[in-house]
Structures are given as C-alpha cells and as structure tokens.
C-alpha cells in the first residue's frame, strides 16, 4: 500500500560527483527566514550552483478546514492565512462568495475596503523594506522603517480595532464604518509617510554599502519571469505591466485614480525603489479615497445559505496576485475553496534568481519576493523518478508516519 522509498535529492543534483561542492542547509530554522522553510544550497566555494526547496513545514490544511465551516466563519479563517496581508485575503474570499449571490456591495463599503487594503499595502511594503535592511546587514534602516510602520498600524487600529487581523469584512459589505473625524488625521499621516518614503528612497540611492549589496543582484529576463509566472512586484520590476487593481479592477479601484509603478530590467535595488514608490501611490490613494468617501449603507444583510454555483475572484495583495475559487452546492458550507498565494507563484522565480549568486546574497535575493511561507505551504504526493502522483487518506498518512518513525512497529 505505502511505498517508503527515500529519494536522494543530493544525488540527483550531482553532489556526489564533484567533491568541491558543499551542501549548506538554509532553514528550516534560520535567522534570515521568519517562517520555517528549507532550502538546500549546493555551493561551489561561495557561489550557488543549485537550490533545492523543500516546502510544507507550516502546512495548515486551511482549504480542507473551510469545507466544514459556515461561509461567514471561513472569511475570518482565511484572513488568518497571512499575518501581514490579511485583509486582502478576506476581500478576495468575500468577492468570490458575493459572485454567487444576487446582491451588490454598497459603494461606501467598497471604498472602505480600498482604504484598509491600501493601508495594509503600505504596512507590508514598509515591513519588507525594513527587513531588506536587516538582511543586508543594515540594522539602522530596519529600526527606522519599522518605527514608521507603527504609524500605519495605529491608523489601522483606529479604523478597525485591530492592528493586523482587521476582521472588518462581511459578505456583501463591511462590518464597521469609518470612525467619525478620522479624515484629517489620515491625510496628515499619509503626508508624513510620503515624506518618509522619499527619504528612504534617497538613503537607498545614496548609501554606498547598501548600493553594493543590492545593485545588479537578483536580475532576471522579462521573458523568463513571465514564463515562470511571476506576479506582483516581481513581475513589475522587470517591466511586465501586471497589476490586478488596474487589469481587473475590484472594490473601488476603478474610481480611485492611480498609476502602476514599473521599472525596466530590475534588480533588488530597483525592487526597493519600486516598493517605496508603490507605497507613495498607495498613500495618495488612501488620501483620495478618504476625501471622496461616499455616503450610504455599508453592508447588505444576507442569509447564511449561498446559492449553488462556482465563482472565482482575484485581487492584488502587496506581494502579488491572490486567487480564490469557491464552489457551493447551496448549503451552509462551501463544497470547495481553493486559494493561491503570491509566494507560491513567485517561488520558481526566486529559485532562478538564486543560481549564480554568492551565499552572502541568499537572504537578500530569496526574500526579494517578500516570501510568506505560512501562506504558501501546500502538500501533494509525487514520486520524482516516475512522476506518479497520488492522494492519501488521513489513515494512510498516519500509517506512513508510524512506518517512518517506528520501523519496528510497521506491519
């Protein structure tokens, strides 16, 4: 029933053939990774010739769990997919479910969704810029950027009551209205953030050691990036015009004016500037949306039963495109929910970027995609030699675990 056949990945990577190569484990517990994920780096001296990823350390089975929970409860569960870009997950799920109903989301709710999603983008980009400083060994940038990130988190807390998991969405609307008298405060804080972003752009451009660490590192062909299905900033930094907010507007993005930020033949330095530029764009969008917030209701109350059918939805998270698919048979729980996170889409690009770099560049390059391994982890069974794929039931999986750890107890 169960084949226990270890695959020697080192052998397939040619490690046994050449003795000058070293295998350096990167992860699963590593200071450069905030979440557990394992990469086998095969080095020749300091240069990487092969990277073998091993994902699945934080697999949580959210998609399966969704099948036994009510529609509304699922939304708050999917919000917890990611600890950084949480709100955009609930937007995308809600949009997919709303597609199955006959109701229209009120305009005011769409604007509120846009405001919170853009605030989240600012906070996510600031977090990434700070961490990039940390990975490049520039602690001061890290500390400064994260201090400014508190400004956004405070605003989000004032709006939703929470710093990270906003829990603000509802199916067909939002749960909470914007608090009274927040407008001036938000506009003023956004001005401050634009100022800071311009200052950080100057630092990133002029600080010699930072330039040496980021320029001409992590370069990739636009064609290759497109073939590897790069999404979000990883597509825009090589010049691909790819942004769901513009290509397929959702929420209030068709009413709030903004420009897509792209650059040509990017490297990590360009990526830093791209994310800071996007932050400025987002800050302006928030100011605009707050000033032009329409009056009206914020939600439509709906029954807990969603009509049968299937629908998909996508949106632009700070890290790239998020995709949700839902299928209903007209019950209180979904039949199937499928979600795809940007990290999963960008991982092949990151592995391609790593080849040929030195080990000193690994944290900088690997995290250029802004990885969120907790969102990404999926699981499937596959034999790499015969390409055979299969599925296991829970009991079979348990039996495999027993066989693996206690060979003497195996039948």
């Amino acid at each position: 029933m169960i084949e226990d056949k270890p695959v020697r990945k080192e052998e397939s990577a040619g490690l046994m053939k050449y003795s000058t190569e070293t295998l350096v484990p990167f992860g699963p517990i590593h200071p450069a990774l905030k979440e557990p994920e394992y990469f086998k780096l095969i080095l020749e001296g300091e240069r990487i010739i092969e990277v073998i990823p091993r994902i699945g350390y934080v697999h949580r089975g959210l998609e399966k769990a969704a099948e036994s929970r009510p529609w509304v409860q699922n939304m708050y569960m999917f919000e917890r997919t990611c600890g950084i870009c949480s709100f955009v997950h609930s937007i995308t799920y809600a949009q997919a479910v709303e597609g199955l109903t006959i109701y229209e989301v009120p305009r005011r709710a769409k604007f509120i969704r846009t405001i919170v999603a853009e605030l989240e983008r600012i906070h996510s980009h600031l977090l990434w810029v700070g961490l990039m400083g940390h990975w490049a060994g520039f602690e001061t940038l890290f500390m400064w950027v994260w201090r400014d990130r508190e400004v956004v988190l405070d605003l989000v807390e004032a709006i939703s009551g929470n710093r990270v998991h906003k829990s603000m969405n509802a199916i067909c609307g939002v749960r909470l209205d914007m608090p009274e008298g927040m407008e001036d405060r938000i506009v003023e804080r956004m001005k401050f953030l634009v100022e800071r972003a311009n200052y950080y752009k100057e630092i990133v451009d002029t600080e010699e050691t930072m330039l040496e660490r980021t320029e001409n590192i992590g370069k990739i062909d636009a064609d290759l990036a497109e073939r590897l299905c790069a999404v979000g900033p990883m597509a825009r930094y090589v010049g691909l015009r790819q942004d769901v907010r513009l290509n397929d507007p959702y929420a209030a993005y068709d009413e709030v004016p903004f420009d897509m930020v792209t650059c040509k033949d990017g490297d990590v330095h360009a990526l830093l500037k791209l994310r800071l530029d996007e932050m400025i764009v987002s800050a302006n969008m928030v100011s605009y949306a707050v000033k032009h917030l329409p009056e009206g209701p914020i939600r439509v109350k709906i029954a807990p039963i969603i009509p049968a059918g299937e629908h998909s939805s996508r949106s632009e998270a700070p890290r790239g495109e998020i995709f949700y698919y839902v299928k209903s048979s007209g019950g209180r729980t979904p039949d199937r929910v499928k979600s795809r996170q940007p990290t999963m889409a960008n991982l092949p690009t990151a592995l391609e970027l790593l080849k040929g770099q030195t080990i000193a560049d690994v944290p900088v390059v690997l995290t250029a995609i802004d990885p969120c391994f907790g969102c990404m982890d999926r699981m499937s069974f596959m034999d790499t030699e015969t390409n055979r794929q299969w599925t296991w039931s829970g009991e079979e999986l348990r039996q495999y675990g027993i066989n693996h750890y206690f060979p003497e107890r195996a039948k």
Binding site: T22, L23, V24, P25, H30, P31, A32, G45, E46, G133, H134, W135, A136, G137, F138, E139, T140, L141, F142, M143, W144, R147, E207, T209, M210, E212, R213, T358, I359, A360, D361, V362, P363
Partner: protein, 327 residues
C-alpha cells in the same frame, strides 16, 4: 614587587581592561540604540550600565554543548588562548603614565605578532567546531584577515617610521609636540577601517553575518566558551582603540593643568581619547550596511593598500627631505 603584580592584575592591567570591555559594550549598545530610535539596555544598573556584565555572568552558568564532530581539546581551550592576545597587548599601552606596564624596545613587533596570533586562533577555533556554517565562516575569516592585514600593518608602521621607534612608549613620547594624526591623517583613516574589519564590526561583520551563516564562527559555541569569546571581542575593541590613541592621538599627552597630579591628568586624557575613538567606531558601525567578502577584499587591496603605501612614501619623503625635522 607586590605593587607591580597588583598593577598587572587590577589597575591598569587585566581587570581594568575587562571592565573597559564591558563599558565599551554598553556604550556600543546604547549609542546604536539611540541612533536607531530605541532605548537600549536600561534595567541592570543605572541606565543599564551593568547589562554586559550580567550577560557575561549569565552565559558563564549556561550549559556548554560540544558538537560530536568537534575537536574537543581545541574547542575547549582555544577561547582561553584567544583572550590572552588582547589582554597581553594592552600591557604594552601606556595608560596611567608614559611608561607602560610591560613595555620593551620592540614591543610594537610583539603587538603585530599578537594580532596575527589572534586571527590564527580564531581560524583554528572556527575550524575545530566542524559545521557547515563555521566552515564557510573560516573561509571568510581568513580571506578578510589577508585583506585587512597589509593596510593595517602599513598604517601602524607609518607611525613607527615617523617616530623612529618600535616601541609604543617611544611613539607616544615622540608626539609631545605634534600628534601623528596631523602628519598622517590617511594612515589613521586606514587604521580605523582596518580595525573595524579586525573587530568584525559592520560593514565588515562578514565572518559572523547572522542573516547568512547564523552566527558565523561563533555558531557552535555556548556557555562558558561563548561568554569568553564575546568578552574577547569587546577587549579587542578596547585594545584596538587604545592602540589608535597611542599611535596617532598622542596617548595620554595633553596640556598640563596645575593643581592636578600629572598621572591623573595623563589617565583622564587617555580615557577621553579612547572613548572618542570608540565612539567613532560605534557611529560608523551603526550607519553602514554589510558588504560582501569580495567587495571587502577589493576595498582593502585596491584602495586602502595603495593609500597607506602613499602615506608611507609621504612620511619617508618628509624624513629624508628634511622638510620637517622628525622628532
């Protein structure tokens, strides 16, 4: 005899140096915290001044884990050999009077030897723990050492050439008129940059880059060994700054103030200069990002070595040309 032994052990010898190491650690943490918009240590002692000591004591009592592949003898005893280098070197620096504790005519050569010895001990230590991270760290460490050593020694030699003395005492004494930094500013700059590489401070914390190779060559150490290795880094910090003060900033020399005993004055001047050099290193370290090993080697070989050679040539020209009478 007893007074001399006490001097060597307590002040201005071993204990004083270690105390200064803790003080430097605290200042380092406090300065970088303030520059980064943080508070830094604040609980142990006034403004957290005792935090480094508390950390040291805590680590002393932690369990020591020895990797099974490690070379046990080197792994256990090399930290003790390592701390000897900066402690011994401090004996050649005049701190409270113009004559140091254990100075002799060629003690600068002994200092150069001890610097090389320290790098050698670290490389052996790193290699003995036998893990992938320390193996890479050893490679980086040795490459960094061969990069910074030549400009470092050239900068030291410039001061010795100009002062026509191979003892720290003689070099300090020769600066009673004009400090060496005025004659050889580039040698001082090269010295500070090479010192940061020697101390593995950012931007040259390449052998212990925490986001790349965990803790570099310190990865496998724990407990007592780790506490002593960390202490040694701080003491090396003090020694590096003290050598800079002696070679380029005139040691404890300064204007005489009547009414204050000269030895007290000498010590006060020395400490002020020592903290100034230390502060310079803290600020530089906080405001720079880490470079890669190839970039560091390029910097030292392509830029700093020619600069320090030019400084040596300039000083030789001054002496030979007699444009300025060397003291």
């Amino acid at each position: 005899m007893i007074a001399e032994i006490l001097e060597a052990i307590i002040f201005p010898g071993v204990l004083f140096t270690i105390g200064m190491g803790f003080l430097f650690d605290w200042l380092d943490r406090k300065t970088s915290a303030r520059m980064q918009g943080r508070i830094g240590p604040k609980i142990t002692g006034p403004s957290g001044i005792l935090q480094p000591l508390a950390d040291f004591l805590k680590l002393l009592f932690k369990e020591e884990i020895i990797p099974s592949h490690a070379d046990r003898i080197i792994f256990l005893f090399a930290p003790a050999l390592y701390i000897l280098a900066p402690l011994l070197s401090m004996m050649f620096i005049p701190i409270i009077s113009p004559s140091p504790l254990a100075g002799f005519d060629f003690d600068l050569l002994a200092i150069l030897f001890l610097l090389a010895y320290a790098a050698f001990v670290v490389a052996i230590l790193s290699f003995s723990s036998a893990s992938s991270f320390t193996t890479i760290a050893t490679g980086r460490l040795v490459l960094q050492y061969v990069s910074y050593e030549i400009p470092f020694v050239l900068a030291i030699i410039t001061a010795a050439l100009y002062s026509k003395s191979l003892s720290v005492e003689g070099i300090v004494a020769s600066q009673s008129g004009l400090w060496n930094i005025v004659i050889m500013p580039f040698a001082f700059v090269v010295y500070i940059i090479a010192l940061m590489a020697e101390l593995e401070k950012p931007p040259f914390d390449i052998p212990s880059a925490k986001t790349e190779i965990v803790a570099g060559w310190l990865t496998e150490f724990s407990g007592r060994a780790l506490s002593f290795l960390k202490l040694t880094k701080e003491v090396s910090y003090v020694f590096g700054s003290a050598l800079a003060v002696s070679l380029f900033l005139g040691g404890g020399l300064g204007p005489v103030i009547f009414g204050i005993p000269p030895s007290v004055l000498y010590f006060v001047y020395f400490m002020v200069k020592l903290l100034a050099v230390g502060f310079l290193v803290f600020v530089l370290k906080t405001s720079l990002a880490r470079v890669k090993i190839a970039q560091a080697t390029e910097l030292f070989w392509k830029i700093l070595t020619p600069v320090s050679l030019a400084q040596v040539a300039f000083v030789l020209f001054l002496i030979q040309g007699g444009l300025l009478i060397a003291p």
